[in-house]
Each structure stands twice: as C-alpha cells, then as structure tokens.
C-alpha cells in the first residue's frame, strides 16, 4: 500500500484546475486538441464503438448490474388489435390517447422504454463513480452522492468537452502477438504501453484520449465468454499522468485488470485515476473493427467524439463513441 499511497500523492490533481473544478483531466483538452482531432479525418471513415444494449449485452456475471430491459409501449400489432377489438376499456389513459385517433387517422407509431443500469455496456464512468476515504476527486465529500444522485462530479457536467479530442489506439493484442485477446491475469504494464506505441509509430501527448485494445469484446462476440481479459496494471496511472492523457478507455469491463495485485484492494487504478487524478474511464468499447483498420493503414490516431447523455446526477452514462479517420 505504501507504493500506492506515494503514487496517489504524486498524481493527485486536486485544485490544479481550481477548487470548484468538476472536469478533471478533461481540462487538458484545449481548442487546439479539438481541431487536431478533426484534422485527422482524412478519409471519411466512421467507426461506431458502442456495444449492444439489450438482452445480448455483457452483463450476467455480476449481481449488481443487469443487461438492459427494453419494452415497447406501443407496437406494430396494436393498431390492428385495437381496430378489431374496439376501445372498450376506459381505464388506461395511454390506450385512450392512442385509440382516440386510430379509428379515423392513418398515422401509426411505435414507442418504447428501457430499464438500464447506466454502466451495463459501453460507457463513461463519471468522476463520482469510484473514490476512497470518504472523499472524491478534488476533495468533494462522499456525501455529495445521495439517493437523489451525485450533486458533484456527475456525468452531465462534462459534455461541455464533447467529449472529443485526438485519440490514440494502443493495440495490446497485436503487441503481444495474441490471436484474439490478452489473457486475464497478465497485467498490462507501463513499459508495454511505451513499447506498443513505439512499435505502432504513434505518440501520446497532452490532451489525447488513450484507447486500449485488449481483445475482450472480440472474444465476447466470438464465444459468448464473459470472463475477463487482461487490463492495465494500476501503475499505468502515473504513466497516464506524466503524459497528460485526458481520458482512458478500453474494450474490457474495467480498463484495469479486475484481479488487483495491490494487497487485497479492488480497483486501485480506478481509485488513482477517478479520485486522485480526475481521469474518466471508458469501458466496454467495441474496438475490433477500428483496431483492424489501424493495423491495415498503420495510422493509430483519429478524431474521437464520445458524448455522454446528460442524465442529471448520474455517475456513469451509456455511450456510443465515434472514431473518425
């Protein structure tokens, strides 16, 4: 734990951007970075990095999050049924509203709703997601998050940043020479990030968003296997800090390796990044097509636009990040 504590002290960004700051490392994304991101769109290629939200999503092994539950509130069979059966039911206001015009009007519609854990598939963690010792990023108290949501560091605070910047993919599957994915338990270490970048001929600079390919979604879609792949070791936190990375994302469930090597503490990299550094995590990003394209053209940087939904007080948001080359 002393290594962890020492690193936490070195990387802590509290008050770096003012005592009221709720953006953290996203502050490193300047107008220049936004422009630089856009300047990378030289071919008009579009990669949507979002996984499916629904029955076939990646949840199932954890009790505390489930796959989303999507239901229709009106569908294609209803108008036929209602015209056939009539509107003899006076209690349902939604039925009355719909049936009111169907008899005479030709317009028909479908509508739907969802019940969804906000981190059930491709997502941003808000800075309020993980913390320790009753304190979140920038010194905000744990008490700022109640049953009503997060009054500080919630995900609806950060969309002013897009979230868009130049992004760099590091393909650890390719670097390690794996067939499909990096096997779980074999943590990705800081020097491997340097070597992968060097092998790929790409540099990571201040304000960039780092996207790490571990092969997890490839494995999941190929086999249905939800067991973890390798993730970053928590010592990568300082590596990210030194380079001024604005945010980090991966195709696995937690960016960092789910098996911590820090004396019995879960999610040490979450603690360092979200709480001490103020750096958001993107998880469950579907990277296979993008990684294949980068390998094909040898270009590993691109414009990334990954807007979170403005769910007020939320500590995470489902997203569909878009990479443009």
């Amino acid at each position: 734990m002393s290594d962890f504590r020492a690193m936490a002290d070195r990387v802590r960004n509290w008050e770096r951007w003012g005592k009221d700051d709720e953006l953290g490392c996203l502050n490193l994304i300047t107008d220049e970075k936004v422009k630089q991101g856009a300047s990378l769109v030289t071919e008009g290629k579009v990669f949507a990095l979002g996984m499916d939200f629904g029955d076939t999503g990646p949840q199932g092994d954890l009790v505390f999050r489930r796959n989303p539950l999507h239901t229709m509130t009106i569908d294609g069979g209803d108008s036929r049924s209602m015209l056939e059966h009539g509107q003899s039911w006076d209690k349902n206001l939604r039925l009355r509203e719909a049936a009111g015009f169907m008899a005479e009007d030709i317009m028909r519609y479908n509508d739907d709703m969802i019940v969804m854990h906000l981190q059930s598939a491709t997502q941003w963690d808000a800075l309020a997601h993980v913390y320790y010792e009753e304190t979140m990023y920038n010194g905000y108290p744990a008490a700022a998050v109640t049953s009503f949501g997060a009054s500080k560091l919630s995900i609806d605070k950060v969309d002013v940043k897009g979230i868009t910047s130049r992004a760099v993919l590091l393909d650890m599957v390719k670097y390690r020479g794996e067939e499909m994915h990096c096997a779980h338990g074999d943590h990705i270490m800081p020097d491997e990030l340097d070597e992968a970048a060097s092998q790929q001929g790409v540099e990571i600079g201040e304000g960039d968003i780092l996207v790490v390919h571990t092969g997890w979604t490839t494995k999941f879609y190929a086999t249905g296997d939800k067991s973890p792949s390798a993730g970053l070791n928590w010592r990568c936190a300082e590596w990210l800090h030194e380079r001024g990375v604005a945010a980090v994302a991966a195709d696995n469930s937690q960016v960092e390796d789910p098996i911590s090597d820090l004396e019995g503490n879960m999610l040490p990299m979450h603690m360092l990044c979200l709480r001490d550094m103020g750096m958001q995590f993107g998880e469950y990003w579907k990277l296979d097509a993008l990684a294949a394209d980068c390998a094909a053209d040898g270009r590993y940087d691109f414009q990334l636009v990954a807007p979170p939904l403005r769910i007020t007080g939320a500590v995470g948001s489902p997203i569909n990040p878009i990479a443009l080359k």
Copy 2:
C-alpha cells in the same frame, strides 16, 4: 389528402438504396461529407446539444411518455451505514457483494440505473417510429415491430453512419425577428427555409443534416412552459427531398408543427419523412448556445456528431449531439 398522397408518391425513396436498405437518407452521407464536416472544425469550439434527462426534463403534458426516473443502486451514504450497522442481512445478494469488501478494502463506489422512455428528451427517431397503412419505410411491414422490438429499421442499425456529416443551422427565430421563440400554430413553410438560408448566407446540399432553431428549448428553460412552439409544415418534406438532406433535427418536440393542417391527420411530415423518404428526425435538441454562436460569427455550418445508443430493436434513442466549429 390528395396533395399529401401526391407528395408521398413524389418523395418516396423505397428501393432507391436496395430492397434491404434500413438506412434511408443517411445513405446520402458519403465519405466526402464526413470529411467536409470535419473540415469545418476551424476553431475547436464544442457545443453539446443534449437536454437534461431527469426530473427536470420536458415530459409532463403527454401521458404516454414520462421524464426519466434515475435512482442510485449504491451511494455515498451506504458505506458509512453498512460499517456502522454491520452486515446482518442475508437476503440481498447485492448488499452481500458490496459488504463483502467494504470492511477491509478502502475502495468505495457509486452506481445507478434509469427507467426511461427512449424519446423523453433529446433523441433520434428511428425509421420504425412512424408509419401508415401497415407499412414502414422501404416496404417493411408494421408486423416487423412486436413487443420484442423492431426487427427492421431499429435505431441500432444506423450507427454505422456515426451519425456525422456537415450540418447547417437555420435560425427561424432570428429570421422571423422573434424575441425568444416562434409562436405555435404559425407553421414554418418551405419558402421561409430558403429565405432564412439566403439571409444567413448558407447553402444546404446533398448529405447535409438540417438543424432548425425554433426557440422552444430557450422558452422551456427560461419559463418552464412546455406548450409547443412552431414547427415545420409538412410541405417541407419535399423541400428536404429535393435538396438531398440526410436527416433533420429541431429544438422542438416534433420537428413539424404539432397542430397538423392536413384534414385531421396527425404528424403528416413524420409520415412523409420517416416512412416514405426514410429520413430520421432529431427532436428536443438544445440549440440556443449554438444559434447564438452562429449569429455572432456568421457561420451556420459545422461538423455534427450525434451517435444513437445501440439499443437493440429500439425505435428511438436518447442522444447528446455534438456540434464542432
């Protein structure tokens, strides 16, 4: 109705992009358009066009859609409570999972979920949202949408397009010289779109996304008033068709005017655009800051990136569209 029928025949795009097409007018967005969009990012400005999802959202007047309900599944008061009270409860698996590490581990987290009508605030309509005569865009039957969702024309089919292109804002509030918003009932007609574009010095071309500022969200946030503002008249459908617009969005609830002037038929423009043309609608987009910026610098075109969530089978998606200049 004969005018409507005649226009429907003129604008219908069925089989234009193949009999299996589910993208509709998004097909008009070429690689060149994606590049052109990105080339407009000359200053690094970012505008997030999403409204809040939560208690303060725009729903309330309709029975069939409600504001989202966001709840925490674990929050900042829980670890303190659980350490104080102990873990004397053997029935709740989620509590057992969380309490299992809190006694020894310093890591703490917040997590949350949402119950949400998919069109409760800023959104894309999927092509499966509105239709008539038992048939949807490209001839797909109404029967393709069941309680299990839309097997055709659902919103998860279109993220291959980003959705990103060059977009153009037409500021009808400015054009009409209104103080805050275009009053309801005074339909926006096709010639007004031409005149506004001309006044703004901007052209709308094939593959562009049109974004119409009516002032509704400005009024809503200023006054809390949820009553409608003006929207497009359904005759604008052909105007959009002729110019090859790829998608159309507005800051009001329905793009088109909620009071139809078509002999008792609701949502005629939805029927023409979604069903006959295959053109998606974006609704409840928050445009005030973007419109102010366009007025200030005189530049009304920009890169738009508005990715829908991949909710499988959904007929709409909450979004947070990003405009970059």
Copy 3:
C-alpha cells in the same frame, strides 16, 4: 414540541416485545384475534379495498412518487406479427425464445411487468418508513436502511401475521354528516373517534385493526381531485396506544392530516406510531362500498386479511386488503 415529546415517551413500545422485535403492535394480534376475525364472516360478503395500480392511480401531485408504469413483454398482436413477418432477427433472446415454438405450437401467451413506487396506491407502510433522530422503531439505527433496502423493519418481516385480525371501521364521513368527504384541514380528533364508535355501537379492543373512512377515495373517483381530505390529528396516536390497536388504515394518502399542526413538523403521527409505537399505517384504502354496507347493516366489524408482498428489504408494499363479513 414538548407535548409531542411527552406523548412520544408515554407511547413508546421499544423492547416491549423484546429487543429484536420487528413486528411492533402486530404482536397484539393473538390467535384468539385471528379466530375472532374469522368468526365475523356470517354472510360471505367480500370487499376488496385496493385501488387501481396504473395510469389512473392517485399519484401526480408529488414529484417523488409516480403512478405505476405497466407494460406488456408479449401481447395478443405479437404471434400474428411474428408468423407474418418471420423470425429474422437474431439478437433478441426473448423473441427467439417465443418464436421458437409459435410456428408449430398452438399455445400463445401474454406477459407483463411493472415499474412501481411501492407506496403509489393502496399500501402498508413498513415500520422502517418513517423515523426521527437517526433511530427507528425499537432503537434500530437509520443506518439499517441503505440503497440495498431495509435490513431491519422491512415489510417482508410482518407477513407472519397475515396481516389479519378483527377490524373496525369508523365512518367519519357519516359521523360528521358530510356529503362525500371530510374537508381537509379539519383534523379528526381523539374524542371524535370515541363518539363515532359510540354512535356506531362498536368497540375497539386490543389487537383490532382500525380502519378510518374519510371519504377521500370517494371524492377522488367521483371528481379526479387529488387534493387531500382530513386525516387524524397526531394526538390520536395515544388513543390508539391506549386501546392496543394493532394497525391503523384509512382511505386518504397519509392516515394523518397532511397539514401538521405541530410547529412546522411534518407527519407527527407517523413519527409517533411507526417509530415510537411500532404501529403500521395502511393508506389509500378504498372504503366506499364497505362503509355503505356497514351503514346498511349496522355492523362495523369484520375479518380483515391484508397481506403485504414479501419484497425483501422494502419499506412499504402495495396491497389489496380484503374485508369479509
């Protein structure tokens, strides 16, 4: 407040039934009371006292509770749609499951789900629902209720009592000579309960459940008006205590009058009954038909069976109480 504090000290039942007790006044229901209740069923009349759960429910004025949202996960239009359109959608597991047998099998089914605030209509408050000074009934700490639910005093602890006993209706509408309901603000005082009982020729004894008719649901169903009716004054708490009442219910939203007359403190009777005495409240009970029957036959006592659902850790439960005469 000193009157309130003094009464709280007089009525407090903590440790009366042991330091681990979670049943409170329901302990007063003996086997004899259960038998006595059943013995009152002399005619075989049945009165269901539950309100509707759905769009037409009583919620709407409060932000923090909504009417239930009921949706179908499969309905009567689906099989026809699925047979017509085929099963060409490989992503939805529920559709695949259903479609798997429909082509050959004749069996069809409907199924559904609900999103529901547990106290959105006819209900029992659990003892964990209301408290003060960080302590609940029998000294259990507020900390026993986390985001995971109530580990103490939850509603699933009390179904061992049925909940069934002899119950007595006091008809305050009749007593006060009101046409429809007792007007809001005119608190029902302890002496009125005595006088109504006397007028009705009924006695309330230890282990009985008291049911108070104020006319609220009558007014709500007749007019749609959701504004409050009169309720019990908090001084009735001691009246209930002295008589050994096991639980109290009413047809209004809160049993007690929503406008407190206790120097700015909300829900004083909830605090005294739920927290100090350990007495459950039943709210939103539909009593009009039962009250009419009691007035007709002059018999105001009956068997009551009002089982809560065993929702683990819940602080309330929707119910449909049954009165038998």
Copy 4:
C-alpha cells in the same frame, strides 16, 4: 391432439356464466363457500404462502422473466449526507423536495420502488395469460390484449372474489413418499389426486380452491436448485372440471409439468384451464410450513385469502396468499 381437443370440448365453460363473464370458475365461489372457508379458522394459525420478491427470487433460468429489482429512492444515509453537504444542487426536484424540510424538521423517511415482472414469484395467472387459436376464455379475442394491457380478463377484474374460499391441500410429496420433492418428469396423474385425497381423508367440492404440494419451493430454498419438479398432467384439467374446483395453485413454477407429454405442445393444461375452463393458476406458492402443519394435525382444509393487486390490465399479479386454520 385429438384427446386434447375432445377434452377441451368437454370442459369448455364459455357462456356458462354469461357472455360477458370475466370471472370463470371463480363464479363457483358462493357466499356459502366464503363462510365455509372462514369457519375453518378454529385455531387462529396463519400461514403466509408468498415467496420473496427480490434478488433471491426463483427467476434466472428463463430469459423473459427476471427477479425483481428493488431500489431505494431515499434511505437512511441520505439525511446525514444532505445535512453535511448542503443542498447546492438545483436540478433534482425530488432532492429539493426532501431537502426542503430536513434542515429544520426532525422527520425522516425511507421510500422505494420496484421493477418487477408480474409473474416473477408467487402469483396468480389472469385468465388472459394463456390461450390458443387467437381466442381467450369465453371467446374474447387475442386482440383484446395490446401493448396497453388486457382490456378483458385482466387480473384486476377478479378481486371481487377476494380471492377467498375453502381450500384443500393435496400433499403429493407425502403421498408419493418422497423425501423432499416430486422429481421432474414424473407427471402427477388424476388418479393420484384421488388417492392422495383419500389418504388424507379430505374431500374436494364445488367452489374449493385446490393447492398442490410438489416440494419445489422446499427444494429451491434448501439447495438453490431452480430446475423443475413434477407437476400435474394436463389430464387433471377434467378432474378439476368435474369437481367444480374454483382455482388451482401449486408450489412449482407452472402447476402443470413443464415437460408436456402432448405431442410437442407446451402448457396443455394452461390452455385447457385458463382458456377453455376459465380457471386461474397460482404458481410459486411456498407450501412447506402449511404442508407440515396439515400433516401434523391431519386437517388439510383451511380458509384461503389470496388477493391479487389491482394492476389495471395486467395478465398476472404478485401475491402473498394467506392460509388460516
């Protein structure tokens, strides 16, 4: 199938109680039966037959139903957090409502909500739940059930019957001499019902509710095993018809055996009972304590009160049936 068709014709009760009837066999419960039920309460014993609704519920093997998801909207940690952190958050209306009084008022409360498939644990099937050939009980069309719910044969129509009557337990575990439960696949046949009744010395008469003990919940709670136990063979439908049973319940998931022996047709007994006869099914009833008591005192009949919630348009309801002896 011809046996099934012939039996369907023999047992069909359509128009037996009028062409508008929605109660079906519950019509067989007369005032006399209600009184007879109550007359069986000779000792004041109470048995709550409901299972837990929550994470530990019986769902998990089916995709289309899940265990209920219970969340708190305000809990015991919130007041402390809100007082500590202040109310500096203006977007959440529910927080503002709660925080409005906490600073000065001593009252505190907990509140909660649930997302629940209506047949996720102990339940009544409504008559609208299962049907065949586009027609439900009494000839109502499948089209009467739309996305808005069931306009005919929904569960909120039957609470006028309590549902209460004399009920009889048949203990098939005891009859077969099983240790814990009747093994799956070994269908319970009509003659076994007769023999078990005879062995127990109990008669089943018109208007009774039959409750069948197969040992499933005993096994589930003892072992966690969710795999099926034996259920009734579909030929029992006629047995129930001949005796005038008002409703049938069991401790397993489907009353009947989940493996149909009717040439590839699922749920033949559901089809005969719910659709042809108009007989409701109760499923997942927890019967172990009641069965043990009946074995101990040799008395297998009792008063049953099992009120469904009045969920408007629902095709099933969660319940907590109460048996009184």
